[in-house]
Amino acid sequence: MKNFLKKVALFTLVSSIALGASKDKGHLLIYAGLMEDYAIKSTREFEKETGIKTEFVRMSSGETLARVRAEKDNMTASVWFGGPVDAFVAANEEGLIEPYKSPVADQIPSKFKDPNGVWTGIYVGYLGFVGNRELLDEIGAKMPQSWADLLKPEYKGELVTAHPGSSGTAYTMLSTIIQLKGEEEGMKYMQQLNKQVRQYTKSGTAPGRMVGMGETAVGITFLHDAIKYRKEGYKDIIIAAPKEGTGFEIGGVAVLKNGPDQEAARKFVDWALSKRAQEIGQTVGSFQFLTNENAIPPKEAQEIVGTKLIDYDFSWAGANRKDLLVKFSNATKTRAPKK
């Protein structure tokens, strides 16, 4: 008995030490805004290539923003990887980003990167509508084809979108509408749209899943997410893009100011912008378009290649985020859901 206890104690001691002390080639902590599987594979590949031990925490853009704000004085992560760049811009306004112009950024067109190196784009996703073919048949409605369509009576209570306060996706929708219609008209539209909404979800991808599951007829989400769900097996999903023009997100990568591993962070940005890094996405079910000119886009995204995009102004969107959100909350009397 005594021997047994001694052995156990020794084992415990040794493994604790082993776990506690693991410093080797360098270390990197990332806050990831893109899908978990994507993040897992990316960090794994990066680690394989460079030997730098890389770990990530997956959070939505709203959560990440809150986190880096709180960690202003002791930033624990060094890279913000994925998630819409609006939040990056907002973070930069508060001095939380370390601008970095990567050499690999030469392969990225200028409309997909910040001129001062605050953020560099890695993927592009189009905003649009996702619908459930079967449910639509049941309620006797057609797939909406325009923003105006959404206000039609047949969609009342059958619309689901994320809340702009918690989701980058929905914020993109909000700023797209404002940029399309101007602030006054835009807020009026959002008020009317609010009446059609059955539920505001916390995450931007949830509408796609709910529509796929048949819990609601129509959702607003990024089209690549809808495609992803369809591929997963939700066979009743159909997609459409609004005729008036739609917004898009650029998923970016940036270095966090005062993060502990600046050198490793820069290495990661270089890697993330490369063709092979960007092509990882489609292997794990992320079907966005890619920013690197040499990267091959996913074939699943073919059907939406011709979508009409508005001239989305990211700086404006980022700078006015707080303001717009407050106005939105007041206009619709809603708050960002916590769950």
């Binding site: 008995m1 005594k2 206890l5 156990v8 104690a9 084992f11 415990t12 493994s15 604790s16 776990l19 506690g20 902590l29 990332i30 978990e36 599987d37 897992i40 594979k41 770990e55 990530f56 925490v57 997956r58 959560e63 809150a66 986190r67 704000r69 709180a70 624990t76 992560a77 995450s203 991808t205 949830a206 899943r209 796929g212 599951m213 048949g214 819990e215 997963e232 097996g233 939700y234 066979k235 009743d236 794990v284 859901p337 916590k338 769950k339």
Partner: protein
């Protein structure tokens, strides 16, 4: 000499006695340090933080709680949940306990095995199955009954899940009490003219009232502390435990989070104290002394049959819920595409092994530490008279009443700043495991020790053994069964812990339960089920191994 003076002098003498026993003294100091650092300090910090705004003392957080309608509703929700779950669970638990004790029930083992299920299974199992069976795409609601809009998320679904999870707790508590009622008391009542219903109404039920009240309170505490179920299936129905997490982690608003935490602690500790010190004392059942005869069970078909049928339905329901998990893990897309698929497991083994590895390793490390520490502290409490003993005992009792979310919150506040930067390390997770599981181990250690005649240890002492020798050569061997069952329990709980560690997961250590929750969150029921199945599998293997080792070491009886 006044009574106070006598007490004081005895305390001083005990303290002096301790100085002459260096082993006792160092152990005592060590234990005190641990308790202060890892239980008291975090709690204190939570309290402090709740009164701090911008670095100064302020009541603003509490005012926010009172004034913000949302928070008020959440507190009300929590109380509502506690009351409803505890009463329904206790009613069902009592029904089961009564049936098992009084009615001739076939296949007793089958029915009593559901009692151990909540202990060995992860917290999401029932919630997950509820979604799979009764949700929008649920097998029962959609496929069998054709209901389109079944809403499982929300208050009703949450109560269902909690009741199924907690009624076995009530069952275990009540069945022991019912068996202690002397059958001759009930026979006397019949003899004096009472029908079976009269006996139940005037004798059995009144005798059980303290026990029933006890069960209700115990379950109330667990229901309001529950984090994982409301998180997963609560829908728009938010409870305080969830809100603490959302404010603390989602919003980094420590002020709100801690104020709510303090309120939750007050709720559960006050109920705990009521239960422990008021109701426990009022038991009549044991007055009659030893039970004089075996109870004759009712076997009249008219009474027994309907009861057995109801029991079977409920038990069957519970079993189905547990079977759903492995089933769901092999289905491609539940409710949409029911074909067999291994893709979820492929995903887990390809991309998702880290949480499994991390959790199992951490659990394995913390388990022996928990067991040994618990035994040492139990020994100190039961056998040694020393200054501060009741303090230690009190702290460890309180630790059971404090909900896990609050402990997690306390850790993250305390261990985020220098010099105690432990957040993000394995240490803090191991410590969390230990601190959550130790109190229960201490309780069972105390119970085991109290059954041993102290004169055996005194004999060893007189023959020259010092404290350590007495402990290792006499006490420990005699409490082996309690020790090992404590180990089993600690391991299982570590593997299935959610509420505390949700605050502590970091990039470096991702835990299994959190991974499951994340998967449910994004709707990947298949992967969540796969993880759950693997978790249950690991638990069974490790527990099986432990029991096997015990048998080889000659210990045959672990009653859990």
């Amino acid at each position: 000499m006044s009574n106070f003076r006598i007490k004081l002098e005895t305390s001083i003498k005990n303290m002096k006695k301790m100085f002459y026993d260096p082993i006792l003294f160092s152990t005592f100091t060590f234990v005190m340090v641990i308790l202060i650092l890892f239980i008291l300090l975090p709690m204190f910090n939570v309290l402090k933080e709740s009164f701090t705004y911008n670095g100064e003392f302020s009541l603003i957080h509490y005012r926010n709680v009172r004034d913000m309608h949302e928070n008020f509703v959440i507190i009300l929700n929590t109380l509502k949940l506690g009351v409803v779950t505890s009463t329904i669970s206790t009613a069902i638990g009592f029904f089961f306990a009564y049936a098992m004790t009084y009615i001739k029930v076939p296949f007793k083992k089958v029915f009593s095995s559901i009692a151990i299920l909540p202990i060995v299974s992860p917290p999401f199992v029932i919630a997950l199955s509820a979604i799979m069976l009764l949700g929008r795409r649920g097998y029962i609601t959609r496929t069998l009954l054709g209901i389109r809009n079944a809403e499982i998320y929300g208050f009703k679904g949450l109560v269902l899940v909690q009741v199924l999870t907690f009624f076995p707790v009530a069952y275990l508590m009540l069945v022991g009490l019912l068996q202690k009622i002397d059958p001759s008391v009930e026979e006397a009542s019949r003899d004096l003219g009472a029908s079976r219903w009269d006996v139940f109404r005037t004798i059995t039920l009144p005798l059980m009232v303290p026990g029933i009240a006890n069960a209700i309170l115990v379950i109330f505490i667990q229901a309001i502390a529950d984090f994982s179920n409301p998180m997963v299936i609560g829908g728009n129905f938010t409870t305080v435990a969830v809100q603490i997490y959302l404010q603390g982690i989602g919003n980094f608003d420590m002020g709100s989070a801690t104020a709510l935490a303090v309120i939750l602690v007050l709720m559960s500790v006050s109920i705990f104290v009521t239960q422990k010190y008021y109701i426990s004392k009022k038991s009549y059942v044991t007055v009659t002394g030893k039970v004089s005869r075996q109870r004759e069970k009712i076997s009249e078909k008219g009474i027994a049959l309907p009861i057995v049928i109801v029991m079977s339905i409920i038990t069957l329901g519970v079993f189905i819920m547990y079977i759903m998990i492995p089933l769901g893990s092999f289905v491609k897309l539940w409710g949409i595409n029911n074909s067999f698929s291994l893709e979820h497991y492929r995903y887990v083994f390809d991309l998702g092994m880290k949480p499994i590895r991390d959790t199992t390793l951490l659990a394995l490390i913390s388990t022996p530490i928990t067991g040994i520490l618990a035994m040492i502290i139990a020994f100190l409490i039961v056998r040694k008279e020393f200054f501060g003993r009741s303090f230690i005992e009190f702290i460890t009792m309180m630790a059971i009443a404090i909900p896990g979310t609050i402990v997690g919150l306390g850790y993250i506040i305390t261990y985020n700043k220098k010099p105690l930067v432990l957040a993000g390390t394995a240490f803090i997770l191991i410590i969390a495991f230990i601190m959550r599981n130790m109190p229960i181990g201490i309780r069972s250690g105390i119970a085991a020790l109290q059954q041993i005649d102290p004169s055996i240890e005194e004999a060893a002492c007189v023959l020259g053994a010092n404290s350590k020798k007495v402990f290792t050569s006499v006490t420990l061997p005699m409490i082996k069964p309690a020790f090992f069952s404590g180990l089993v329990y600690a391991f299982v709980r570590s593997m299935t812990l959610v509420s505390t560690i949700i605050f502590l997961v970091s990039a470096r250590y991702n835990l299994l339960t959190v991974a499951i929750m994340n998967q449910i969150d994004v709707g990947k029921i298949g992967v969540a089920s796969a993880y759950c199945t693997i978790l249950i599998f690991i638990v069974f293997i490790v527990v099986g191994l432990m029991i096997f080792t015990l048998k080889r070491m000659g210990i045959n009886d672990i009653s859990e």
